[in-house]
């Protein structure tokens, strides 16, 4: 297939992702401004990071005046899954994916883009991935801008209610697999319980570090009790 056709196909497959990102990032824009960032800063964060959980936690670190080491560790822990996805996707790339292409397309490895690309039968071509990343990023960045900018124009009741948007999405990500696999249910419950204990029993622990400690502890427990078979990536 020609480069142009591949690019257009990637854009087409990216439309549902972009639309989804648009509404969720609206919530991120509101949250970022509430945490004291400017509209420009919020938009820039979305353009440079393209990830919901990491950005939400990052804004938390900025708002709390955490250290840069804390910021780096928080991002590493929350986004380490992208390294796994990148590893898995790197096995599916077409020979046209030279190192510069890999370094460019790496920017756009998100849960959703990975999901769509990983499900393809044929090898992934650079233009296809670029088209998808373009649409997804456009939705993510413009949604953030609108949320940050218009968030202050909406009635306070409404912006307050929109604050739950991202958390609602996180719940939608973790519940269906937890329902299917008791190992994931265990991991999720364990992490939530630890996090609640940290919040009320160890209030001096910053939110970022609490997420890292709870996430790692619960994952170690789950990995020891429910080791994964070789098959799943």
């Amino acid at each position: 297939m020609k480069t142009g056709a591949l690019f257009r196909r990637g854009m087409l497959h990216g439309i549902p992702i972009g639309l989804g990102y648009l509404s969720v990032s609206f919530g991120f824009g509101i949250l970022a401004v509430k945490s004291g960032l400017s509209t420009l800063q919020a938009t820039l964060i979305s353009l440079l990071n393209l990830t919901s959980a990491g950005q939400t936690a990052g804004v938390g670190v900025i708002a709390a005046g955490g250290s840069l080491a804390e910021m780096a560790l928080v991002q590493l822990t929350i986004n380490i899954r992208y390294a796994l996805m990148a590893l898995s996707l790197s096995q599916k790339l077409s020979p046209r994916f030279s190192l510069p292409h890999r370094l460019a397309a790496a920017y756009g490895i998100t849960d959703e883009i990975f999901g769509v690309c990983a499900a393809r039968q044929e090898p992934i071509e650079p233009p296809y991935m670029y088209g998808m990343i373009l649409i997804a990023t456009a939705g993510w960045v413009s949604g953030t801008f609108l949320g940050a900018f218009a968030g202050s124009l909406l009635p306070p009741r409404m912006t307050a209610a929109l604050g739950i948007l991202l958390y609602g999405m996180f719940i939608a990500i973790i519940i269906p697999p937890a329902k299917k696999q008791k190992s994931i249910l265990f991991a999720v419950l364990c992490a939530a319980a630890l996090s609640i204990v940290c919040k009320y029993a160890l209030p001096m622990l910053s939110e970022g570090f609490a997420v890292i400690i709870c996430g790692i502890a619960a994952s170690v427990a789950a990995a020891l009790l429910f080791p994964r078979k070789e098959d799943a990536a």
Binding site: G20, S23, V24, G27, Q41, L44, I45, L48, N49, A53, T56, A57, G65, L68, M71, Q75, L76, T77, I78, N79, I80, A83, A86, L87, L89, S90, R102, A106, Y107, R157, M158, A160, A161, I164, G168, M169, F170, I171, A172, I174, A178, K179, A187, V188, L189, A191, A192, S195, A210, V211, C214, G215, A218, S219, V220, A223, F226, P227, R228, E230
Partner: protein
Amino acid sequence: MSTAIYIAVMAGVTYLIRALPFGFFQKKIKSQFLRSFLYYIPYTVLSAMTFPAILYSTGSTVTAAVGTGVALILAYFGLPLIAVALAASLAAFLTGLFL
């Protein structure tokens, strides 16, 4: 500290996490423990980020609790991410009208 430095660190770390394995690694991770650990990480991190923070996300524990309940139920029935997120928000908003 300047916000720009935070943003630079955040973006740099996030990019490297994606680019180093995508650009340079080709081999599979062999250790079963490590593979299992990495497999569970997204779920545990999202769970720890959500609970109990979600209860403080709307400025009212009551509206947040209703939104959380709605999200849990709809997610249980496997509705799309966006539907769950928007319904949680709508539920919190509507509850707020009665307070």
